[in-house]
């Protein structure tokens, strides 16, 4: 029965007619059967009484409906005014509670949107400030070198040295800018990852290729344990980068002669990529910190690097629907576990 389109007035009319007719029929029947006038009067009184109570019920019902509507409208109003108040009836088994609960949820979603927008703006601002902060040092250095170079009384050797230093600072700037651009592009979603089901083995190979030289230099042992064909949906370019960053760190923070191991396992919902090293390890309370932008351990301040690698890695993996775990013991080594989802989602 399509309750929506029936107008209440019409329903009321029908029902009243029904009541009156039924009562009349019964009264008439009673009269015919018994000829008893008292019965007729009684019947009529009963009928009249019922109708009166019925009217009362309808009136009360209307009032209740009215107050219901008022309550809802006032809740909406509060939401608009950003002035949501506590309601005492929220945990009752009533339609009103149900509706208001939903409205609250809507409100929350709206709030969250606002917050997200605010946060995005904040992020942007912090990014900008990070950029300016990070670039300041190389720029200052360059300025200094520039000044020095402009001075006349420098030996050739001295000049050459300064020029080299200049080069290194420019490299640094360059590297920094690259990283910034990558980050911002990733964050703002300008670059989207293209996931294709392809062989992870090849991706690994690419990533490893990037560190062979450095590792070799430090006489490090690299072991890889991965099936030659390991199909999984992922973006080759970025995933290579992500894995490279970790490998890079591994090489950086492991003493010479150490070992790096890469192993890949298929789990029910994810593929696990373990990158283990025998480096200095990361204390437990730093686990969360290391993934932050521009975070660097104190000990490696000298080495090249900006502190953005792990951050990028995590972003890349997250965007692909995976996650990353770290496990470490100080002095013995660290294991980074990358989890990539098996199926194509989103």
């Amino acid at each position: 029965m399509n309750y929506h389109s029936l107008s209440f007035r019409r329903i009321l009319r029908h029902i009243s007619c029904g009541v009156i007719l039924t009562d009349a029929a019964i009264v008439a029947a009673v009269y015919i059967l018994t000829g008893n006038r008292t019965a007729v009067i009684c019947g009529a009184v009963v009928a009249a009484g019922s109708i009166c109570w019925g009217i009362l019920l309808t009136v009360i019902f209307q009032k209740k409906l009215s107050s219901f509507t008022v309550e809802i409208c006032s809740t909406l109003e509060e939401m608009i005014q950003d002035n949501v108040q506590e309601k005492p009836y929220m945990e009752e088994e009533t339609l009103l509670a149900r509706i208001v609960h939903r409205l609250r949820e809507l409100y929350r979603v709206m709030l969250r949107q606002k917050e997200q927008n605010a946060r995005a703006r904040e992020e942007l601002q912090s990014l900008v400030s990070d950029i300016s902060h990070q670039t300041r040092t190389p720029v200052t250095n360059l300025k200094m070198i520039q000044e020095t170079l402009q001075e006349e009384n420098l030996t050739d050797i001295e000049r050459k040295e300064f020029l080299k230093a200049q080069e290194s600072q420019i490299d640094k700037l360059d590297f920094l800018v690259e990283a910034m651009v990558k980050t911002s592009r990733l964050e703002t979603g300008v670059i989207t990852l293209e996931k294709k089901t392809q062989n992870l083995y090849d991706t690994l190979a690419e990533a490893l290729a990037g560190i062979f030289a450095k590792a070799d230099q430090k006489q490090m042992d690299i072991r890889v344990n991965c099936p030659e064909t390991f199909m999984i949906a992922h973006d080759r370019k970025w995933t290579t980068e992500a894995i490279f960053n970790i490998l890079d760190n591994a090489v950086k923070y492991t003493p010479p002669g150490g070992r790096i191991g890469v192993s890949v396992e298929r789990w029910e919902a994810y593929a696990k990529i373990d990158i283990a090293d025998t480096g200095k390890g990361i204390p437990e309370n730093h686990y969360a910190l290391i993934f932050q932008r521009f975070y660097r351990e104190k000990e490696v301040h000298d080495e090249d690097g900006v502190g953005i690698g792990l951050y990028l890695t995590r972003e890349i993996i997250s965007l692909q629907g995976g996650y990353i775990k770290v496990s470490s013991s100080s002095g013995e080594g660290t294991v980074f576990s990358i989890f990539l989802p098996n199926e194509c989602v989103i």
Binding site: F61, K64, L65, F68, E93, T94, L95, L96, A97, R98
Partner: protein, 875 residues
Amino acid sequence: MVLPFENDNLKIVKTLAKRSFLASRFRNLVAVLAIALTAVLFTTVTTIGMGTMESMQMTQQIMKMSKSDADIRNLTKEQYEDFKESGIASESGLRMPISFLTNTVRHSIELDLADSVQRELTFCQPSHGKEPVKANEIVASDKALEELGASPEVGAEVTIEFTAHGRDYQLPMIVSGWYESSHDELSVMTVSEAFQEEYPEIFEYTYREDAELAGTYWADFMMADKTDMEGQLDELVESLGGSREIDAPNSIPAIVNQETNPGMDGKMLAAFAVLVILFIFCGYLLIYNVFDIAVMQEVRRYGLYRTIGMSKKQVKQLINRQAVWVSCMGIPLGLLTGFFAGKMTLPKIMDILSTEYKNIEISVSPNPVIFIAAAVLTALTVFISTRKPARVASDISPMEAFRYVEEKRKKRKHGKMKRRSRGVHLGQMALANLGRNKRRSAFIIVSLMLSVVMLNAVGTAAGSVDVERQVNEMVRTDFEIAHVDTGSNLKGYIKRDQGVPIEAVEAIQRMPGVTGGSVVYKNTLEDLQVTFDYGMKISDIEVYDEQGIAQKAGEDPDGRLVSVGEDDYPMCNVYGMDKAGLAHLQIAEGEKDFEKLYEKLMEGSSVILGMQADRKTKVLDEYYNYLNVGDTITARVNGEEVKTYTVIAKAALTSDDEGFGFSVSSSIHVGIDAPYLYLPQEQVKELYQDPAMMKYTFDVEDGNKEEMREFLDSYIQENPSMTVLSADKARASAESSRTMIYVVGGIIAFIFGITGILNLINMMSTSILARRREFATMQSIGMTKKQLRNLLMLEGSMYAAGAAVFGILLSAVVDQTLVKSILSSPSLWSFTYRMTIVPAVILSVVLIVISVLIPRIAMRMFYKGSVVEQLRMAE
């Protein structure tokens, strides 16, 4: 029902209920059985109830020979026409009485002119043949035709003789149709309207002059409007110019038929009300247990529901819905079964209720009232029984979802914190397990107990049937022989020619094995010359002519009606017996040593006074008890004092002492309320010279009884005016009523028993199922399966033993109090309370055996495999 503004979230409940319902076949089966059983109980009760009412009504109507609403008599033709036009009747018949036939001996025949409607309303339509059309055609009963010497068949020829308006008629008639008579002593023969045309003089209206019924118009009719029937009759009679007063000169008797519109029998109603409450209780126990256990099994699930947010209302709905479905299956099943069960046991019940009725018409029609009442009662019981379990389920705390033991519902502050170490004896473990849920244990024990008590009460009642007492009330010796009229409730022994001829006595005495024979002489309405003076003067003497013989009677100073003889002194009822006969009298006061008593009696100046007494207690009835031992009574013959007798004893009389079997019409008609005097027959002969013999009583040795019976049967064939009463027949009927009590009571107790047993089975098997995890654990710590089985058997037998002990005790108490008081009610005079606890003991044993067997069977069915497998199964 969801009301406006309430959250209408019941759809999921409907789905869950349906799934739940479909998923638990076994549990549903048990519930359906429980409900069906309850419905059976109720339907049986209502069927029997309605059936009893219907049957009794039908029987009464037949006894009264009318199923009309009312009847009206003594109308003139004009009045009759007016009556018909008044519209008071929705249908009416015409009856013009003619006379009683005069050529009958044993069976009286009333001759009426009647139309079809009248015949139908008074149960004399022909079941064979047709209604009469011609003037010489009649419809009569089979017994009437036999009485007239013809065989009951269409076309038979009979001769009828009767007197009307002072003229005798002897007419040859032909049977156009006949029907089975419902009465032994009386039936109606009807002629057609053509008869009136043929013999118009018979139908002259002379009633107001000579009270001649022939010529008057009578009618049996159904009222159009059943309200205020008395008032309507008043109006009608007035409008016809008459009065309903019997003594009025223009009296028009108009009577509402009590049998057609009987009032409710209060006792019957009370009895059924008690039964209904009892059955509700029984059903409640059964159904409550089933649902309680079902909820218990699902505790974890309900806890889960509550955790994820199911409100109490929803949980209750969940359970109630399933209860409704199960009822829809169980109630119809129970209704049908119950109806047929009731139908079958109805005749037995009627038998018990009516040792004194002879032909009961049993009729049980599928009256919708039966089913509706039973269905409503069962539904009511289900509703009551499921309320608590539903509430319990809705109160389950969400913690139950992830706990594995039943949580205590209330925190007991003073509960057991510690327990003295008593060791791990199996018996104590069993007892402790019983204490886990005291209420459920109590319930089960109570329901088992109830069946024990019930069965025992029935056993006591049946055992208390005092056959000999019943027999004794009816006839004190093996056989009695008397005139047919003596045994008739209508006629009675009032004339000398109704006496037993001496040849009959001699013929009997010649038979072998006859002992203790005694003549019983009695005075008749013709023996007016002998009267008695016991100190009360009779006044207001009038002449009555009720029995076709003139009789004088008046009132004594206390207002009692007493018949008097020629000299206006009371005639009394006087009995003369041989020694053997007198020996049977039950002396209540005075000389109780019979030898001395008889000696005194034979001396000729003593007399035994007979008194009415309560059948049950044999306490002498005060109203008639106005003479004492030691008082003198003077006998008068022909107006002169002849002899003085002293009352030396008072006897409590049975109806047989007064008359013949249960018929006391002789004494009622002859002496009316005057004293009953018992003398040796020699004395009576002295007074009355040639007294008539009312009856002859005698015993027969066992070996010769059969011969005597055959002899008596053939004697009666040849002498149709004689009739015989035999103690053996009475005994047989009393015995059969005892059997009936066993049967019916047994069925009731059986039902209660089944209830208890089902409860027990249900509880035990579900507890076994529910504790599988626990048992697996116990097994893993070293309890063997055998030990486990013994534990369970002990638990089960403890329930049964508890029920047995309490049941037997309670039975004894109930017997001594309730049953005893019921059986001492005067209407149950044929019962002598005899206590027994044998049935209780037997049932207890059965219960114990069952309670021991169940665990064995259950274990065999459910406990297979290793501990680990069991644990897995229990998940």
